[in-house]
Subunit: 672 residues, 2 copies
C-alpha cells in the first residue's frame, strides 16, 4: 500500500478516537487517488475502511479469541480447576490456591489515575496494554485483573467497557453482558435478604410470640427441633438450650422477635438496570401487606454490599462469615440486626457459591485476564477481587506480574486499594502506574470545562505548554499520595493524536522531577502491547526497587481520626466537619463495636476536594461529612462527602438505540 | 443383608416420603438385631441409614452425573453445537435444527395431570421416570423437556423442584439455582424495558419537541442521522424521509412523542425473589423524577411476558420480532405502544441471545434432559420451550420419544399446550400421559380437604374404594378433554405406599372404561426407570395409534367465542359472564387487530371450575371473566377468571432456614 496511505492510517490511529466520520475516512483514499501514481487496490481499500470505521466491538470481533481451555492450559491450570462457560469464558476454582500455596507470588502492580475529566483517562486500556506488552512482547508472564462492568450503563449513557481500541478484553460483548452471571447472583442474594427483612417485620407484627414460635420451630412428623441456624441464634442470645420445649416465655419472645425498627433499615433492593424511577419508592401497598408500607429504594446491583464482599473475600468460609455479618437495620433497642439473625446466611452463600470463582478471559493479544467483582468506587472501594489477584499472583510465578486497576483517581481508588483491599488480602504492592493525559492536565491547569457529549475546546486540540505545566500540580500531588504508602510510581502518559511532542516531553519531565520512578508515553490504544513496551520496561525496573509499603493509618484510631487522616494527608484538606448525623452514626458504630474498621470515603472523583469544579490541587478546604454509614459484612465504614447517586438513569437517547442483534449471524451491533 | 431388612427398606421406599424421622429409621435396624440370627454388618447399616435418611438432594448427590460433553456426544451433538457451562450443563445451539432439518421427528408425548391437590400429583417425576424407563430400560432414544423452576419458591415455601426420589434431574442444586442464567437474562430484559417506559414518559413530559428531537437525533461529528431503529419508526408513522433536516414540525412531534398514557401501562418490573412487599408500590418519588409518581408492581420473573416469548419462539429472528411486538401501554389516543416504539427491541434481543439456547442436563439414570423456559401456567401457558422440543424431536430420531409436561391440570396446561404451543410450533402430539393419584381421586370423591403442611386425614392413608370410585369422575373428564383433541391417553397412576392394591386396580379399570388407551401403576419415585417400564411400554403402543390431532377452536372466532368454547367444552361451564371491563378490553383488542390470537385462560388449577373448593366435575356454573389482558409478543389473549397472584411471598419460616453451604466441601444442604 502506498506510503502516504500508511502514514495517514498511523496518524489517524494514534488519535485514539472511537468513531470516524465519513469525511475522515475518505480523505486518505481520495489523497491516494490524487497524489499516488496508481490507485489503491480493492483489498487495500477494504482494509482502510475497516481501520477507519472500526469501533471497539468491531476490533474485538476481528480477532478470534483462542478457546478458553487452550488459554487455561497455557497458563498452567489443570483440567479440574476450571469450569468452562461457552467458548471464551471459564470460572477458576479456588482449590488452585491450595495446590499452589508454596509457589511465591509474582509482582503486584496497581494502575491508578490522576484526577480525571468526566471522559476518563484510560486506566483500563493502560492495564490491558501493559499486560499485552509484558506477556506478548517482553515474554514475562502477566495477568490483568479487572472489574466486571455493570450491565446498566451498557444500555444507558456509558456504553460498554472492556478497555478499547487495541487494548481490549475479548469478546467485548461477553465482558459487557451477563458474563458468568456473578452480578445476577449478587442481585438474587441481595434481594432475598431484602425480602426476608420486610416479610419478617410483617410476620412479627401480625402474630403472637406463640404463633411465631410454632411456625419457626414446627413439629415435623411428631418431632420438634431447632435448625442449626436457629441454634446459632440461641447461642448469640445466650440461651444455652437445644430442646424447643424447654424455653421460657421470655426466652421464646427474645428468640422469635428481631424487633426491627423499620426506620433504621439500610439494606436496599437492587437491579442491574438504570432505573431512575426506583430511586425512591413506597413498598407494601397491597392489601396482603396489611398497611405496613414504608419508603425504600432500589440501587444498581453493583452498589450492593454483597458486591463489596465478593471483592474483599479471601475464601468461601470467609465469604459466608461476611454475608452473615451484614447489618441490615437496628432493632428497637438500637442493636444491629444481621443477615445471620434473619437465618438467611446459608441461602446467600448458596446463591454466591459460583460467583466467588474468578472468570478467566483474554486480551486482544491472547494474554490472560481475570474479570471478577466490580464494587462502586464511592460507597464501596472500587477494586476488583482479592481472590482473582491472589490466584493470578500464584499463576504468574515469582518473576511474573499481576496488573490490576483501582476506580476513580488515585486519591480515592488507590487509597482504598492500599488501606482496605491490601489490608484484607495481606498482599504487598510493588509498583503504582499512574495514568495521566495531556487533556486532563490542561483541565487542571485552568483549561475550559470538559463534559461528555460536548465537543472539546481548542485548548485541548492545540499545543498549550503553559496549561500543561500548570496542570501538572495534580499529577505531582497524586505521585506524592502514592509515596505516602512507600510504593514507587511510574507515570503512564496515555497519548492522544492531538498531543504535541513538546507537551508529552514536558509531562514526562515534570513527573520525574516530582518523584516518579519513571514517566513514559503510551500508545497502546492504537498499537496494542507494542505501544506500551516502554511502560512495561519501566514497570519491570521499578518492581525491582525495594518496596517499603505501609498503610496510611492504624485501625486502632477512632473513626473520626481515620477520616481526618485521609482528608488531610490524601486530599489536602485543612480539616473535616462532621454533621450532627455523621457524629451520631460514628458514636453508634463505635458503641456497636465497629470502630476498628477501615474507612471507605464516598467522595466525588472529579476533584481532590469535595467540590467537583475545584481542579488542580485545592487547598485550605474543610471536608464536610454529611453522614456515615457502614458495610459491616464487607468490613468498612463509609463517610458520605455529599450525596452519592446509587442508581443511574436512562437519558433521552439511551445507548440501546444503537444496540442490535443480527438474527442470522448472531452478532451484536452497536456495543461501543 | 437379611431378608427382613430388605423388605422393610422396600416398603419404606415405596411410600415416596421425603424425610424420615429417627424412629422410622432405627426400627428396622433394631428389628434386625432382635429377630435375625446375626446382626447386620457395618456396611449394611450405613447403606440402610442412607436409604432411610436420604432427601432428594442426597439421592441426587449420591449419583455422579456424567460429564456433559460425554452426554452430548452420546446423543449425537457435534462439538461446535454445544456451549459447556461447568461440568454438568451445556447450552445447545439452534444451528442443530438446520443440520438435522431432514431428519424425521420422534414421537411427541405430553404429560398432563388430573385436577391436583395443593400437594401436586407428580407430573415431573412421571416425566423423568418415563424417559428413564424408555431410554435406560427399553433402549429407546428419549428426551425429557422440562421447565426451569423459578428461584423464588426455592427459598420460599415450595423448596426445590427437579422431580424427586429416583426420578430426578441432577445435579438438582444446579437445576434449582442459577442454571445457565436464562431467568436472570429475562429479568434484565424485562426491567430494561420497564425502565425505558418511565424514563421516556419523564423525558417527554419535561422537554419541548425540539429539545427531544435534538437529543434523539443528535449531531455527531457534524453529521445528523437516524439510527435504523428510528428509520423503522418513521416508516411505521408513514413518514418516508431519511434526512433528519427535512421533517416538518408536525412530523417531528409525531416522531418524538410516544405520548404514553401512564394509567394504561401493563408492563411490570420483575425479580426472581418471593418479595411480597413489591406487590403494589409507588415509584418515581425522588426529586429527580419531578413528581411523575405512579403506582406499579413487581412480578416474579417467570411471570414476565418475555418468559412466555422464550417458551413460544421458534428462532432468533422470531424472538426478536416477538420482543418488538410486546405492547407495554396505550398512547393517549388508545393506540398500542410497543417495545419497538421505545427503540429497545435490539437491546432486548441482545440480552436474550444466549437464553434462547436450551440447556442440556441429565436424569439420575444418565438420560438426556432439556431444561428451557418456565412460564406461569395461569397468566401464561405453563409449558417448556418449543425450541427444546423441536431439537429433542430431531435428536431422538423417528423411533424415539420426547416427553414434556404441562403445568397444572390437563384442563389448563394440556389445553394450552394444544391450542397455544402446538399451534405456534406446528408439532403434532402422539400421546397424552395423564397422571393421577389415589389421593387426588379420593379428594374429588368427597374426601376431606388436603393442604400443604397439614397431616393427611385417615381417608387418605386407609383403603376407601368408594371415595376412589366417586373421584374417578375427574379422571374421566380429563380423559375426555384430551380426546377432544384426538390424542390417545395413557393414565399413569403415581402409586403411594398407602394405596391398596384394590384401589390401584380400581383406578386402572375405571380409566380404561373411560376411554384411556391404557392405565398403569408407576413406582418411579422409589424405583427410578424400572418403576415406569410398564408405563413406557403402554406409551410406546399408544404412540403407534393413528393420531387425529385437531385444535379446539379456530383463531378466526371472535375473542368471546373462543373463551366460551374453552369454558364449555373443557371446563364444563354452562356459559361465561364478561365483566364490563373484560368486554371493553375485548373490544379494544379486537379494534387494535389482536382478535385472532389464541386464548390463555388464567384460572385456578384446583378445580375444573373457577371455584377451587368445587372438586370432582362441577357442572352448571357460569364462568366469570373479570378482566382480559394480552401478551401480544408471546401471542395470546389472557382472560382473568378471578385474581391471579403474580408475586409469591415468604412465609414465617421460609425454606432458606434449612439451606446451607458447606464451605469446605462446597456442598449445598437442605435444598429439598
Amino acid at each position: 500500500m502506498c506510503f502516504l496511505l500508511k502514514c495517514m492510517c498511523y496518524m489517524h490511529f494514534l488519535g485514539g478516537r472511537r468513531r470516524k466520520t465519513q469525511t475522515e475516512t475518505f480523505i486518505p483514499i481520495c489523497c491516494c487517488f490524487v497524489f499516488c501514481r496508481r490507485p489503491p487496490k480493492l483489498r487495500q481499500i477494504s482494509w482502510l475502511l475497516f481501520v477507519f470505521f472500526s469501533s471497539d466491538i468491531e476490533i474485538s470481533r476481528a480477532q478470534s479469541p483462542k478457546a478458553v481451555d487452550v488459554l487455561a492450559k497455557e497458563i498452567g491450570l489443570l483440567t479440574d480447576e476450571i469450569e468452562i462457560y461457552g467458548q471464551t469464558k471459564a470460572k477458576v476454582r479456588l482449590s488452585l490456591l491450595e495446590r499452589l500455596k508454596d509457589q511465591p507470588d509474582g509482582k503486584y502492580v496497581l494502575v491508578a489515575g490522576i484526577t480525571p475529566t468526566p471522559l476518563g483517562e484510560g486506566k483500563s486500556t493502560v492495564t490491558i496494554g501493559l499486560v499485552q506488552a509484558l506477556t506478548a512482547h517482553l515474554k514475562i508472564n502477566s495477568f490483568a485483573c479487572l472489574r466486571q462492568p455493570s450491565q446498566g450503563p451498557t444500555f444507558g449513557v456509558k456504553g460498554g467497557a472492556a478497555g478499547g481500541g487495541y487494548a481490549q478484553v475479548i469478546p467485548m460483548e461477553e465482558f459487557n453482558l451477563h458474563l458468568t452471571g456473578d452480578i445476577h447472583a449478587i442481585t438474587a442474594a441481595n434481594n432475598l435478604l431484602a425480602a426476608a427483612i420486610d416479610a419478617r417485620i410483617l410476620h412479627e407484627n401480625t402474630q403472637s410470640d406463640k404463633a411465631l414460635y410454632n411456625r419457626l420451630v414446627p413439629v415435623v412428623k411428631g418431632v420438634r427441633g431447632f435448625s442449626s441456624i436457629q441454634l446459632a441464634r440461641l447461642r448469640r442470645l445466650g440461651i444455652n438450650k437445644t430442646d424447643p420445649e424447654t424455653l421460657t416465655e421470655e426466652e421464646i419472645s427474645r428468640f422469635v422477635r428481631l424487633d426491627i425498627d423499620p426506620s433504621t433499615i439500610t439494606w436496599q433492593r437492587v437491579v442491574d438496570t438504570n432505573d431512575r424511577f426506583l430511586r425512591k419508592i413506597t413498598i407494601g401497598q397491597a392489601n396482603t401487606e396489611k398497611g405496613f408500607v414504608r419508603q425504600a429504594q432500589f440501587d444498581i446491583a453493583v452498589a450492593s454490599e454483597i458486591m463489596a464482599i465478593l471483592a474483599l473475600t479471601t475464601s468461601l468460609e470467609d465469604m459466608k462469615e461476611r454475608l452473615g455479618k451484614i447489618v441490615v437495620a437496628n432493632d428497637k433497642k438500637g442493636e444491629p440486626v444481621t443477615a445471620e439473625d434473619l437465618g438467611v446466611t446459608g441461602a446467600l452463600a448458596v446463591l454466591m457459591k459460583d460467583a466467588i470463582k474468578p472468570t478467566l478471559m483474554q486480551t486482544l493479544e491472547g494474554t490472560p485476564v481475570f474479570v471478577h467483582a466490580g464494587p462502586f468506587a464511592n460507597i464501596a472501594h472500587g477494586n476488583s477481587s482479592i481472590l482473582a489477584d491472589k490466584i493470578a499472583l500464584k499463576l504468574v510465578g515469582e518473576k511474573g506480574f499481576v496488573v490490576t486497576e483501582a476506580g476513580f483517581g488515585a486519591d480515592i481508588g488507590m487509597e482504598k486499594f492500599f488501606n482496605i483491599k491490601c489490608r484484607a488480602s495481606g498482599l504487598v504492592p510493588s509498583v503504582v502506574v499512574l495514568v495521566a493525559t495531556v487533556r486532563a492536565l490542561k483541565m487542571h491547569g485552568g483549561g475550559p470545562s470538559v463534559s461528555a457529549g460536548a465537543p472539546l475546546k481548542k485548548e485541548y486540540t492545540e499545543e498549550n505548554l503553559q496549561l500543561v505545566a500548570d496542570g501538572c500540580c495534580n499529577l505531582q500531588k497524586q505521585i506524592q499520595i502514592a509515596q505516602l504508602f512507600g510504593v514507587p510510581v511510574v507515570v503512564a502518559l496515555n497519548v492522544f493524536k492531538t498531543d504535541s511532542p513538546a507537551e508529552v516531553d514536558l509531562v514526562c519531565k515534570i513527573a520525574k522531577q516530582s518523584g516518579a520512578f519513571d514517566a513514559v508515553p503510551c500508545n497502546h490504544w492504537s498499537d496494542g502491547g507494542r505501544g506500551a513496551v516502554k511502560l512495561a520496561q519501566a514497570v519491570e525496573k521499578a518492581a525491582n526497587q525495594k518496596s517499603s509499603f505501609k498503610y496510611l493509618y492504624s485501625l486502632e484510631l477512632p473513626i473520626a481520626e481515620k477520616i481526618k487522616t485521609i482528608a488531610q494527608k490524601v486530599y489536602g484538606a485543612q480539616d473535616i466537619e462532621l454533621s450532627p448525623a455523621a457524629q451520631s452514626q460514628i458514636d453508634r458504630y463505635t458503641r456497636q463495636g465497629f470502630g476498628k474498621l477501615p474507612i471507605c470515603m464516598a467522595k466525588t472523583h472529579l476533584s481532590l476536594s469535595h467540590q467537583p469544579e475545584k481542579k488542580g490541587v485545592p487547598t485550605g478546604f474543610i471536608l464536610p461529612i454529611s453522614d456515615v454509614r457502614a458495610s459491616i459484612g464487607a468490613g468498612f465504614i463509609y463517610p458520605l462527602v455529599g450525596t452519592m447517586s446509587t442508581m443511574p438513569g436512562l437519558p433521552t437517547r439511551p445507548c440501546f438505540y444503537d444496540i442490535d442483534l443480527d438474527p442470522v449471524t448472531e452478532e451484536v451491533k452497536g456495543l461501543f
